[in-house]
């Protein structure tokens, strides 16, 4: 069965690439949306809320299928990799925007006023006073969500991305043997179990003492 090990390993590489892309772009976009929302421009906020609600309501697999099978009819044909990246990044963006926004609004109004009255600008207040406190609150829910959505890279199989599950499934059907699938399953555990354990540690570390 070692014959299929290189396939699984190449799947691991694709999964890691995809996961890093999703996490970086998704969280960055979520933070940008939350910061834009804090400017308090009404029509813009409605737009942000609409986009966030949309991607919180739709199952990630539906978004992937929609982009991969739908967009070609509009003349754009993204690859399976790009479709999966885009879809999961949008979903993570929506969830992280909510989480960042909750963090920002949790900082008491008096802190804003105090910071502004010492002469800090809006941007300085946000950067040096509000965000450091907000991040503390956002870390446990954000790590949870990020893990849940990053695991979704396995959904890429449906649109022929050669990540772990895709490689394992095709190796299984080539070899008429479930061992590659077991290897793939083990690869997911090796990849994600340490992250889950680390997240649990972070959760207790940053938990709010009530």
């Amino acid at each position: 069965m070692l014959k299929y090990l290189p396939d699984i390993l190449s799947g691991v590489v694709v999964t890691i690439e995809l996961a890093i892309l999703i996490v970086v772009t998704g969280i960055a976009a979520g933070l940008v949306l939350a910061l834009l929302r804090s400017l308090g421009i009404r029509p813009l906020n409605w737009l942000i809320i609409a986009v966030v609600d949309l991607f919180r309501s739709l199952p990630p697999l539906v978004v992937i299928v929609l982009i991969y099978f739908g967009l070609p009819s509009a003349g754009i044909s993204p690859s399976g990799f790009v479709s999966t990246w885009l879809s999961l990044a949008l979903v993570l963006m929506a969830f992280s925007e909510e989480i960042f926004w909750a963090g920002i609004t949790s900082v008491a109004r008096g802190q804003w006023e105090a910071a502004r009255s010492t002469g800090l600008s809006f941007a300085q207040t946000m950067l040096s006073v509000v965000l450091p406190q907000a991040f503390r609150l956002t870390i446990p829910p954000l790590t949870n969500r990020t893990i849940a959505i990053t695991k979704g890279t396995a959904l890429g199989t449906v649109v022929a991305v050669t990540e772990i599950l895709g490689q394992a499934s095709s190796a299984m059907s080539n070899s008429y043997n479930p061992s590659p699938l077991m290897m793939g399953a083990a690869a997911y555990l090796v990849l994600f179990f340490p992250i889950v354990v680390a997240a649990r540690w972070v959760e207790t570390r940053f938990a709010w003492k009530r």
Binding site: L58, A74, A102, T157, L165, L181, A185, F192, V196
Partner: protein, 233 residues
């Protein structure tokens, strides 16, 4: 004038492709059957996950370090394991062991294991949030351990974590779309069938609209609950 005409034509072409009324009408029976199955599937897997979670949470309330450690490992295992991989393992892996379960049964088992772990974690946090004094008081009035749990601890525990339970339930309903991978004829599966019959993305757009209309009220409600929880700090 000419530019406006081009614009109108482009918009109508978009509608013809992505929201074609004739295709909606033609594929509606297929999509509708999928919607019905998604509702039925959700009505099955949500209670199944809750039961799994309740079992885990009750076991954890025994407050024995060994049991708690074992349960934590169990929960972390399923938090690390993508549900789709679990589903494929059951659906495509078990037949090699001589056990051929249908897609539907595989979905039920995978959800019991995967979403049970998430529900269990939430309910455990809820039970932990009820002060020990409450259990002692209940026990001292003569209630048995089980009675104290069902009448005193659980009602408060559930209330304390209601937003988390609701949020997880939303994720569970969204997760039923995975059934499409193992040929369970739920909404996404049916929409893709209709898509390949009509050569049009319209059915998938319709399915997405249905998911949105179905789940958006829950998302709104959750946003409200989260904001209120923060305001209460």
């Amino acid at each position: 004038m000419g530019r406006d005409a081009v614009r109108v034509e482009a918009v109508s072409a978009m509608i013809q492709t992505f929201f074609n009324p004739e295709i909606i009408a033609a594929s509606w029976p297929i999509v509708r059957a999928g919607l019905l199955n998604t509702v039925l599937l959700s009505l099955l897997v949500v209670p199944l996950g809750l039961i799994g979670g309740l079992i885990l949470a009750l076991l954890a309330s025994v407050r024995q370090p060994v049991i708690r450690w074992a349960l934590m490992a169990w929960v972390d295992f399923f938090r690390a394991f993508p549900p789709l991989v679990l589903l494929i393992l059951l659906f495509a892996g078990l037949p090699f062991a001589g056990l051929e379960l249908g897609g539907f049964v595989c979905v039920a088992i995978a959800f019991f294991l995967n979403t049970g772990a998430y529900y269990g974690e939430i309910l455990r946090a809820g039970i932990d949030s009820v002060p020990v004094g409450q259990i002692e008081a209940a026990r001292s009035t003569g209630l048995s351990r089980l009675q104290a749990m069902t009448h005193v601890v659980l009602p408060q525990a559930v209330r304390n974590v209601l937003p988390d339970l609701l949020s997880n339930t939303l994720e569970v309903v969204k997760l039923t779309a995975l059934g499409s991978v193992v040929a369970v004829p739920e909404l996404l599966y049916q929409a893709r069938q209709a898509q390949s019959l009509t050569y049009s993305p319209t059915p998938i757009v319709v399915a997405a609209v249905i998911y949105f209309l179905m789940l958006w009220p829950v998302v709104r409600l959750l946003s409200r609950l989260e904001n209120r929880a923060l305001a209460g700090r």
